[in-house]
């Protein structure tokens, strides 16, 4: 079904139609109420009576051979049930290993990451023994008694030294420490080489941590009688986790149930398989007792998947009029000691490469991406993955091109942004940009700011009496696109072997008419229950309150990828809509049976928000009145639930309705509740081929990849003496297609922009050159607090993607993709500097150093 309100054949909305939906009253969703009032049930709330609690003995050395592990004293400590070493586990547990099918020029080396190291440790915090005891206190007491003898080995502390000739090897099979390499070229080089303007910029994004409020953890219990493992985890990806556990434990996935309770934020780290999870599962099997591990914040900082740690070196060329002639870039991604499961270490180099050309016309592109092993904790996904590197680097390059061509930052962007009439456009990064109006988004953001007002404030600050030298304002902008809901074709191209890349939904209408929806993309607080309820409610024409959404439990939810990479509303939502379409067919079949008609003589219609099936035999004279939905598959046009924020509950009935107004002579109608009853009674005979009951399953591989787009502008104040930077104002103009739930979209954007401000100004997981981890607590790793995040003004445009039935585009990561660039560019603008390289975060100390190199800005601009 295509949503009539968003027929893509109609022109997308343009600048003058940019529409702001002020903080909709739907803000507090029912899903959030129990969470906000303390009635959520998180991992630590799962309390099996006899559970053993785990503590991990971790290596203090970044690289060492394990000579001996003496656990005798620990085993005799009070409350200890078991202490298990790597050597003991090695026979029964396979290492964590992410496979890839690297195509083209790409080269990949998988690594074996033993959940408990037996011979060699490769990062500070690597597990060398597991203690299971009556409570966590005892487990920690005993873990201090495990005596490990190490032989320290030389350390590779960062990616640059890792690829230097003669560097220590992290893995024997990777002599150059390169675990992944890819190289892409598109377009012709000559224009790039002859272009008169040449600009360069190098930027290092810090190693950061997703830092969900709830850290990770697992509760495992093994039923020896049935040979089944019950595994709760604070995970984003129950099915992938189950597959991963099955691989490591050597038991069939069908014998494992993975359930995610309420999850207090995911952001990416919770989609990787943790060695602790494998160890917990293995111990549960081994000991036949429930085993519980709740990661504390120090463990989380040290050993929950870090991300980024990427340096991009780039060079762009442009014509004299500021038009981009080409882009050349190389990324160096420090992925730590192992390639993590399921995505593998190619994640950042691949996604940074996709993102660098951005929403611009880039006729020539050459990219090399490297993932390099070092003696640090492995990296994994974090909201945005390598994509924020795109705007971080490219936006600065574009501004520099503008300066070289004598163009205002807005004008140089206008000249280079792809226009709607150029879409769909195959970007040299490999994505096909489908929809949206990039110049209009920039215009929308600038208009909302308003840009002229900001410029005036900036001018005043520059020549303000007395403080002109000290307090400066800067304006930063960031235009970008985000490929979302990536389908099987994308993961096939990326070569990532452990992501199914589709999602599924099961819909069931019970005899009383209530609807249950089981979806493979769980929620970590994004409001999926609410959004899916709305999709089902509007798709089937049932009250949203009558829909129960069940997520995150492999025992009941159908197979799928899970929640990451802005895929839930595209892929999970697509599955829900696809299942709803099948459900309508089933309802039609039941109605037809009731009326003893052919299925083609009935049709599903939503009237006043209520779904029902009506007979059309009396009117079926022209054929035009026959709804194709009943005969075609899920992609046929059906009654159209309006998804638009303003269209809320209007029952747009699709093209069939006009031909068959309610109450027309001869029309009979069965409401969903009546059909639900009929489908479940033995009294209604059903023709062959019509199944009783009302339960449908749909697996969904998005037919194309919707690419959402946005423009961010930031006004930042910098104190040149202290180096303090404060984001004063922030505007986002975004287009994620038809919005299902404005409150959810706005919440996602605001949270992600806050995280992006953190990446730009505050956050960094630090290791010293010797490989020691230095970000032990939240006093070392600074996340943005409420005072660091301004109000964020949001402008929505809704251009549906032509690639999917719903037109919905994902947006979960959008905020963090654009924000670091907007903030960094604003700081550079405030200081009037164009450094050749930049290391983030822009700490006050770094800002003071930049200010010292600053030129005096033109006070009139």
């Amino acid at each position: 079904m295509r949503f009539a309100a968003y027929d893509v054949r109609r022109a997308p909305r343009h600048a003058n139609q940019v529409k702001h939906v002020p903080g909709m009253s739907e803000a507090s969703t029912p899903e959030h109420r129990p969470l906000l009032t303390g009635r959520g049930r998180y991992l630590d709330d799962i309390r099996p009576a006899d559970a053993l609690h785990l503590a991990f003995v971790r290596s203090p050395w970044p690289h060492a051979r394990i000579r001996n592990v003496d656990a005798d004293r620990a085993r005799r400590a009070p409350g200890v049930a078991a202490v298990v070493t790597g050597a003991e586990l090695a026979g029964t547990v396979a290492p964590i290993r992410a496979e890839m099918e690297a195509g083209g020029s790409a080269r990949y080396r998988a690594t074996d990451w033993h959940p408990v190291a037996a011979r060699t440790v490769r990062y500070v915090g690597e597990i060398v023994a597991v203690v299971a005891a009556r409570d966590r206190y005892m487990a920690e007491d005993a873990s201090a008694l495990v005596d490990v003898e190490y032989e320290p080995l030389p350390v590779v502390g960062d990616a640059v030294s890792a690829i230097r000739g003669g560097a220590t090897q992290v893995h024997e099979h990777a002599p150059d420490n390169v675990l992944f390499r890819t190289e892409w070229t598109s377009g012709k080089k000559d224009r790039f080489e002859q272009a008169p303007i040449r600009v360069r910029f190098t930027c290092r994004h810090p190693r950061v941590s997703g830092m969900p409020m709830e850290a990770c953890g697992a509760v495992a219990s093994y039923d020896r009688a049935n040979g089944t493992l019950d595994f709760s985890s604070s995970t984003q990806v129950p099915h992938i986790l189950r597959d991963g556990l099955a691989r490591c434990l050597g038991i069939s996935a069908g014998r494992i149930r993975v359930a995610a309770p309420n999850v207090g934020g995911g952001f990416g780290p919770k989609m990787q398989l943790f060695p602790e999870e494998v160890a917990a599962a293995a111990l549960a099997v081994r000991l036949g007792r429930a085993v519980k591990w709740v990661q504390d914040r120090m463990e989380h900082l040290q050993a929950a998947f870090h991300s980024r740690d990427v340096t991009v070196e780039a060079e762009a060329a442009a014509e004299a009029d500021g038009r981009i002639a080409g882009l050349r870039a190389q990324s160096l991604c420090d992925v730590g000691a192992y390639s993590s499961f399921p995505l593998g270490c190619s994640l950042d180099p691949q996604t940074a490469g996709v993102a660098l050309p951005g929403p611009y016309r880039v006729p020539y592109y050459h990219y090399i991406g490297l993932a390099v092993a070092t003696h640090k904790f492995p990296t994994g996904a974090y909201r945005g993955v390598g994509v924020p590197l795109g705007p971080l680097v490219t936006e600065e390059l574009v501004s520099r091109i503008g300066r070289a061509a004598g163009l205002d930052p807005v004008e140089v962007r206008r000249r280079n942004l792809l226009r709607p009439d150029e879409l769909p456009h195959e970007s040299p990064g490999g994505s096909v940009y489908d929809s949206g109006d990039y110049p209009a988004l920039l215009q929308g953001a600038l208009g909302r700011a308003p840009y002229d007002g900001w410029r005036e404030e900036r001018r005043k600050a520059r020549c303000g009496a007395g403080n002109g030298a000290r307090r400066r304002l800067g304006i930063g902008m960031s235009c970008f696109v985000e490929a979302t809901g990536m389908n099987r074709a994308v993961y096939r191209k990326r070569g990532m072997a452990h992501v199914p890349a589709f999602d599924s939904a099961v819909l069931r209408i019970e005899p009383g008419g209530g609807v249950e929806a089981f979806v493979s993309t769980p929620s970590q607080g994004q409001g999926h229950h609410e959004s899916f309820r709305r999709l089902v409610g509007r798709g089937l024409g049932v009250p949203e309150e009558s829909v129960r959404v069940v997520l995150g439990d492999t025992a009941v939810t159908p197979y799928g990828s899970g929640t990451f990479a802005s895929r839930s509303m595209v892929s999970g939502g697509g599955a829900v809509l696809s299942a709803a379409a099948k459900m309508k067919e089933r309802l039609c079949a039941v109605a037809a049976a009731r009326w003893e008609l052919d299925a083609r003589q009935v049709r599903f219609i939503i009237r006043d928000g209520a779904g029902g099936v009506e007979r059309t035999d009396a009117h079926a004279t022209t054929g035009a009145g026959i709804d194709r939905m009943a005969t075609h598959g899920p992609s046929a046009k059906g009654p159209a639930p309006a998804l638009g924020s303003e269209g809320a509950a209007s029952a747009s009935a699709g093209d069939g309705s006009a031909a068959s107004p309610r109450g027309a002579a001869g029309t009979e109608r069965l409401e969903i509740a009546e059909l639900a009853h009929l489908a479940h009674t033995p009294f209604l005979p059903l023709p062959a081929g019509v199944e009783p009951g009302l339960e449908v399953h749909a697996a969904y591989d998005p037919p194309g990849v919707p690419v959402s787009c946005a423009a961010h502008v930031a006004l930042v104040e910098v104190d040149r003496l202290t180096g303090g930077a404060r984001v004063l104002r922030y505007v986002v103009a975004e287009d994620c297609g038809p919005i299902v739930n404005v409150a959810a979209v706005d919440g996602q954007i605001r949270g992600a922009v806050a995280q992006g401000i953190g990446c730009a100004l505050l956050e960094s997981v630090d290791y010293d050159e010797g490989g020691q981890h230095r970000s032990a607590t939240l006093m070392d790793y600074l996340v943005p607090a409420v005072g660091d995040v301004p109000d964020i003004d949001i402008v929505h445009m809704e251009t549906p993607s032509p690639f999917t039935e719903s037109g919905i585009k994902g947006m979960g990561e959008s905020g963090i993709i654009g924000a670091p660039a907007a903030v960094v560019n604003a700081v550079l603008d405030a200081l009037g500097v164009s450094p050749s390289g930049l290391v983030l975060p822009l700490t006050p100390e770094r800002i003071v150093a930049l200010a010292a190199a600053g030129r005096d800005p033109d006070p009139t601009s």
Partner: protein, 294 residues
Amino acid sequence: MKPAPFAYRDPDSVDEVLALLAEHGDDAKLLAGGQSLGPMLNMRVVSPEFIVDLNRVKALSRRGTSADGGFAIGALVRQAELEDDPAFAVAQPLAAAALPWIAHRPIRNRGTVAGSLVHADPAAEWGGIILALDARLAIRRAGAPPREVEAENFFTGILETAVEAEDLLAEIRLPPWPDGARWGFREFARRRGDFALAGVACRFEVDGAGRCRSVRIGLVGVGDTAVRARLAESVLEGEPPGAELFAAAAAAVGKEVEPLDDGHASAAYRRHLAEVVVADALAEAWEQDGRDEG
């Protein structure tokens, strides 16, 4: 992040507290607001055998004007109590102005002034405050007469003070506020509520001849302990205040401090910041135009 096992006592009199400290000394830790001790226990940075909880000792919660007209702060007085006390703001404007910069309100709700001073984080605001105010610290020990330590002798080394294992810091005594004294408080932290990378509490008077007198500059965050900027004080003392003099004082601060390099900032940057906050605080004090707060 679970503490190692410990025994717990919660006496309700000062004498019992002192007796327990005398008995267990090094093996015991006093628990006041727990805002520093709690995390240290959880991280197993400390694992005392005994925790002696002060929270039932009512006598330690007193605060108010003392006989000499100064302000006395008992060991259990929470930072937030002072923050909310209008009488404190009148009696001690400098300390009152600094309070909102200490951590966050929930931490100030429980955290005590005494706990902060004994914990002696070199960036803790109270270190600079007691130095700027010439405070005296009343210390008790079983079997010994109560003793008073001058602020400038209180900090003895990194995270070390004149309060020894058997001691209770019973009271913080702020002398009466001098009429017409001017003061400034400035700090710079990466985020509001974080420990300052550099901070300063300063106070001076201006005599009839228009010259700076009784100059006190207490710096935090720029060394092992809170320190007085004696060189800068001497630059100011006896000179007529003004922008140029303040700049000279700030430059003197840059010469005399010995900041540490750490994960948050380099020594050079902290030194630079010390100069900036001192110049700002002195200017702030001067702009007060001799408001009479005493």
